[in-house]
């Protein structure tokens, strides 16, 4: 892991500050960015020591948290029902499949018109992308369940709702959590896009305004911060998934894939 980071940062340093490759002429160098980031008195007003930095992070995280929670609360049940009930799928899935490919950015104007407050528009956009990923994976999770588990449950006298609770839900859980990992990623993706278009505060907003105000090192600080925060949220989803699926953790460990 350290080697990878070393190579990446070394490459950046060499490309910008030593070799001065043509494409990298306007790009801020590693040392400039690190100095700015760690400075108590940053040239462009944003560093680890300024409270604004944490306000932006806090805003973005709070928006993603809301969008992700809503997407999970609505997406997981929708996906489970899509996978479970044939009739429900026949009615709902075609609409779902038509809405799903619409890129989040195409929703931006409509979102701004729908939600006058820019805050809810931004959350809505992050929610949308997240929601489709969650619902689709939950549905695939149900479809991935071996038919013999359903038959076995029926043989053992489980009612339809018991089958849902004790077979469909736990059986789909691995896929649901794969979906949630993807969903938290796309939530960040669409959040930043939305913040760039119509946000106040937030990391996307930082990157966009830093661009228009020619604060290039701050752009890089915003990007790196997104990487770190995005990684942390994704890791949190994974930890929750592992806690809920001890059986799977142990199974994979036995197969030497953990």
């Amino acid at each position: 892991m350290l080697t990878g980071f070393g190579l990446f940062l070394g490459g950046w340093y060499l490309a910008v500050e030593v070799w001065r490759l043509p494409r990298f002429a306007e790009m801020p160098g590693l040392t400039v960015v690190v100095k700015e980031w760690l400075s108590k008195d940053p040239t462009y007003g944003l560093s680890l020591y300024t409270p604004e930095y944490y306000q932006h992070i806090g805003r973005s995280v709070w928006r993603v948290a809301q969008a992700f929670t809503l997407a999970t609360v609505f997406g997981v049940p929708l996906g489970l029902f899509l996978g479970w009930s044939r009739r429900f799928r026949d009615h709902v899935f075609p609409v779902f499949e038509l809405l799903r490919p619409i890129p989040v950015l195409a929703w931006v104007p409509l979102a701004i018109v729908m939600f006058v407050a820019s805050e809810s528009a931004v959350i809505y956009l992050a929610f949308l992308a997240s929601f489709f990923a969650t619902a689709l994976n939950a549905m695939l999770g149900v479809k991935s369940i071996d038919e013999s588990y359903l038959r076995a449950a029926e043989c053992l006298g489980a009612s339809r709702s018991q089958v849902f609770r004790h077979v469909i839900l736990p059986g789909a859980l691995p896929f649901i959590f794969t979906g949630l990992q993807i969903s938290v990623g796309v939530a960040w993706f669409s959040l930043v896009a939305a913040e760039m278009v119509s946000g106040q505060y937030g990391l996307g907003y930082v990157i966009n305004t830093s661009y228009s105000m020619v604060r290039y090192p701050t752009i890089i600080i915003g990007m790196i911060t997104l990487g770190v925060v995005g990684y942390l949220t994704s890791a949190m989803v994974r930890v929750v998934g592992d806690l809920l699926m001890q059986w799977r953790v142990r199974e994979l460990a036995l197969r030497g894939q953990a």
């Binding site: 013999s148 449950a153 006298g157 489980a158 077979v167 142990r250 199974e251 036995l254």
Partner: protein, 297 residues
């Protein structure tokens, strides 16, 4: 209702023939009468089962032998209620499970299936799996079910793995857990669909003895599907050798080796005689299946 027909008990030298009939349960007799199953497909209809009649007495181990793809699983699925039948009738203790007017049998805990590839829920511990049936049906409280499960698992030599997940125990142990899970429901019939198919020969022979031990404790009708003739002769009171597509009994054989049996039966003279007598019929059907190139069904 026909009287329960038991295989003749003949004393083998050096082994006491225990009169088996005294413990025969009065429930779990299956009659399969002229069952037909036609699958409609794009490439035309396939008759998987045709005019098949079998009479399985209560408390009997009934083995159905046929090559892969001969249609024997279709028969089991019809009894279990996973598929409908096209014609004929299946009764359990005189009650109709399915016939021309109700082509699909209800699924329920009186006929529990043990699946070919195993169907223990991987997200539940072995113990949770075993208590699933009675707890879902609200026949037992979780605590009572756990007590019963612990006893039954101990009887089946499964102590110590209660709180492990199925993936953490060997496939042989998983099969035994699955059989105990089925027996927890006090089923009339246990339907086994090639449960030992994936096991190696040595594990298989251990599993056979384990199954018999479980059977001697819980006299339940066992309808067992296999492509392994030795397995059929070792376990069964009766062995039906099936024809290939359409599936119907070619010969039905009563295995006159007394229960309880153990692995020494495998080397006995009578066992070898029976194997010799039957293997020609099985081989002939296997050859037919091979030549027609039928796949798993």
């Amino acid at each position: 209702m026909p009287a329960a027909r038991r295989p003749e008990v003949t004393a083998a030298p050096g082994r006491e023939a225990r009169p088996f009939a005294e413990a025969v349960p009065s429930r779990g007799a299956i009659r399969i009468e002229n069952v037909v199953k036609v699958y409609g497909g794009r490439s035309g209809a396939v008759t998987a089962v045709d005019g098949c009649s079998l009479d399985i007495a209560a408390g009997e181990i009934f083995m159905v032998v046929g090559p892969s793809g001969c249609g024997k699983t279709t028969l089991l699925n019809a009894v279990a209620g996973f598929h409908d039948i096209s014609a004929g009738r299946i009764t359990l203790d005189g009650q109709v499970l399915c016939d021309g007017t109700h082509p699909q049998a209800p699924r329920g805990p009186d006929r529990v299936v043990v699946f070919q590839n195993g169907a223990l829920f991987p997200w539940q511990t072995n113990l949770e799996n075993v208590i699933f049936g009675p707890v879902m049906q609200r026949k037992l409280s979780k605590r009572d079910a756990t007590d019963k499960a612990m006893d039954m698992m101990a009887d089946a030599g499964l102590s110590g793995i209660e709180h492990s997940y199925p993936a953490e125990v060997s496939s042989g142990v998983r099969r035994r857990v699955e059989i105990v899970r089925a027996l927890m429901n006090d089923p009339k019939v246990l339907l086994l669909d090639e449960p030992y198919r994936a096991l190696d020969a040595l594990t298989k022979s251990v599993m056979h003895e384990a199954l018999l031990r479980i059977y001697y404790k819980n006299k339940v009708t066992i309808f067992f599907i296999t492509h392994d003739l030795e397995e059929a002769l070792f376990l069964g009171h009766k062995v039906a050798v099936m024809t290939t597509r359409p599936c119907r009994p070619k010969t039905i054989l009563t295995v006159d080796i007394p229960h309880p049996r153990d692995y020494s039966v495998l080397t006995s003279k009578r066992f070898r005689e029976l194997t010799r007598e039957t293997s020609a019929a099985v081989h002939e059907e296997a050859l037919k299946a091979f030549q027609s190139g039928e796949r798993e069904g």
